[in-house]
């Protein structure tokens, strides 16, 4: 085998790429993992709640070994109406016991660790090199990539190159990305002393809390906000549908400033220091945007394959990326066994993905993008809730109305018809 011939080339050392590299290297394949950033994670950004069940299957000791921030035991959903907020607060200390449910992570640290696991298993990591394009042979089969100046050849190329995947587009597996199918995520990491975080959020040890916000957070643009606790920092951000940003000619950076200054958010950030500001696309179009997942000599995994679920209360992409890498690694192992890397043989990837939690969950939430395409959800309902609570808690000299009358009055003032409300509730129940 010459220096630049491999069994598998993996483009992108995000969670999908490094997981695939780890699993294939473990099976004894010659794997090269090419990453354009100076180190794995240097280009990657997420809100940071990693649902870890799938990781546990691959790295049983991840809870001790991986650079995790905090174990999420408390979830708060916050409806913001004007300056008011209405919270649903859920805490379950059982989440602090194995099997854990979710941890916050910071990608510059987590992705580095994951890539190190792949390297330790024998994969060759090449950071600081951008893959320019896939190389095809005369029959149109993908046979390698052009990485920097070098041609690397392999039986199979796995595109794990994230939401802006140029490779899937070049290989003809997907067309241009539609503004309806992506959201712009804007995020800040805000440093605070560990003791302050634990006091402020009532956390014990490495417990963590995840806030999700709907409503005023986005000025009515479809989307929501988040605030997650790390060990010594907070991850705070907004995810806003791009078609809506364009339609309303909104400036995400401005909306983000308003969010940080919102009376429900600002006190949580008090005295914090901005450590980093960033932005990243979220491919949240659901099944509708999933491209052709395989071709002769090529597979697409993770964000590049549109495998993200945003149901309005949580964004999941990292665990789906890892899950897709597991299916891809299995398919490649089988293809190798049969010595057949044709599209037909690699279609096993799709079969396995369809059977795994990844596509099961994608199907379960397949109505979510449609349901979330509803302006009432991001403006009127959060306002309605805030208004209703304000009425219920306001004491004036005229004596109180029963709460149900207050609720009825709020609904009347909001100009949402009962029929509309019923339809939205039904739609929500079906979507979520």
């Amino acid at each position: 085998m010459s220096d630049d011939r491999f069994d598998a080339i993996i483009v992108g050392a995000g969670v999908a790429g490094s997981t695939a590299a780890y699993l294939l290297a473990q099976q004894g394949l010659q794997v090269v993992l090419v990453e354009r950033g100076p180190y794995p994670g240097s280009k990657n950004l997420s809100g940071g709640v990693l649902y870890t069940r799938v990781l546990e299957h691959i790295f049983p000791n991840y809870a001790e070994e991986a650079p995790l921030e905090r174990c999420i035991t408390r979830q708060v959903i916050s409806f913001l109406g004007g300056d008011a907020s209405f919270n649903v607060d859920f805490k379950n200390p059982a989440f602090l016991q194995p099997p854990y449910n979710a941890f916050t992570v910071l990608r510059a640290k987590f992705d580095r660790w994951l890539a190190e696991q792949a390297e330790a298993a024998g994969a060759m990591l090449v950071p600081g090199i951008k893959v320019e394009q896939v190389i095809k042979d005369g029959t149109g089969r993908v046979v390698g990539v052009l990485a920097g100046e070098d041609e690397l050849m392999a039986d199979v190329v796995i595109a794990a190159d994230g939401a802006t995947s140029f490779l899937a587009q070049q290989a003809g597996l997907r067309g241009r990305i539609d503004t309806r199918h992506v959201a712009t995520g804007v995020k800040a990491v805000v440093g605070l002393p560990q003791a302050t975080i634990e006091d402020r959020f009532h956390l014990d040890g490495n417990e963590g809390v995840a806030y999700t916000t709907l409503g005023a957070a986005t000025r009515g643009v479809a989307g929501g906000g988040f605030l997650y606790t790390n060990r010594e920092s907070l991850s705070v951000g907004l995810v806003m549908r791009l078609d809506d940003l364009v339609r309303t000619q909104s400036r995400p950076a401005e909306i983000f400033d308003e969010f940080l200054a919102h009376p429900a958010i600002a006190p949580l950030l008090k005295d914090g220091e901005l450590l980093e500001y960033g932005a990243h696309l979220v491919p949240e179009g659901g099944l509708e945007m999933v491209p052709q997942l395989y071709a002769d000599g090529m597979l697409v995994v993770g964000d590049a394959a549109g495998l993200v679920i945003n149901n309005g209360f949580a964004i999941r992409g990292m665990d789906l990326a890892i899950g897709s890498a597991v299916a891809a690694a299995q398919a490649v192992a089988e293809a190798r066994e049969a010595n057949d890397f044709s599209a037909r043989s690699l279609s096993r990837y799709k079969t396995m993905l369809d059977r795994s939690f990844v596509m099961r969950d994608m199907r379960t939430y397949s109505r979510a993008p449609h349901f979330l395409d509803n302006p009432r959800l991001f403006k009127q309902y959060p306002e309605l809730l805030a208004d209703m609570m304000t009425r219920i808690y306001t004491q004036n000299a005229d004596g109180k109305q029963p709460a149900r009358n207050e609720a009825r009055q709020s609904l009347k003032d909001s100009r949402i018809s009962l029929a509309q409300l019923a339809r939205d509730v039904l739609e929500g129940a079906r979507a979520l």
């Binding site: 280009k43 990657n44 990608r107 951008k130 000619q249 983000f256 990243h280 696309l281």
Partner: protein, 94 residues
């Protein structure tokens, strides 16, 4: 937390600047023809685009590579590629 301007926020980030190798090219005429709203001027979370003396400029060195403009802008309006390997935004938190 102190309110910071977008420039002050970006100043906290780490970049490997690839001097002399812009990764964004603006095609002025195409943008004006196909996207009269000039979405790049408002949709970029890092305020990379601005209008100066009636021309659209891309201050590409402060681009965080989110990909938003590449999707929002008509394909003829921008040539947008990733910076060369090793260059561009370097997240230390992520």
């Amino acid at each position: 937390m102190k309110r910071l301007s977008i420039l002050e926020k970006i100043a906290r980030d780490k970049f490997e600047l690839d001097e002399g190798h812009p990764h964004i090219e603006v095609h002025e005429e195409e943008i004006r023809e196909l996207c009269p709203d000039l979405s790049c001027l408002y949709v970029c979370p890092a305020n990379v685009y601005s209008e100066q003396n009636g021309r659209i400029m891309a201050d590409w060195a402060g681009c965080v590579e989110c990909g938003t403009c590449r999707v929002a802008c008509p394909p003829e309006g921008l040539t947008w590629v990733f910076p060369r390997g090793g260059f561009g935004i370097v997240y230390r938190e992520g």
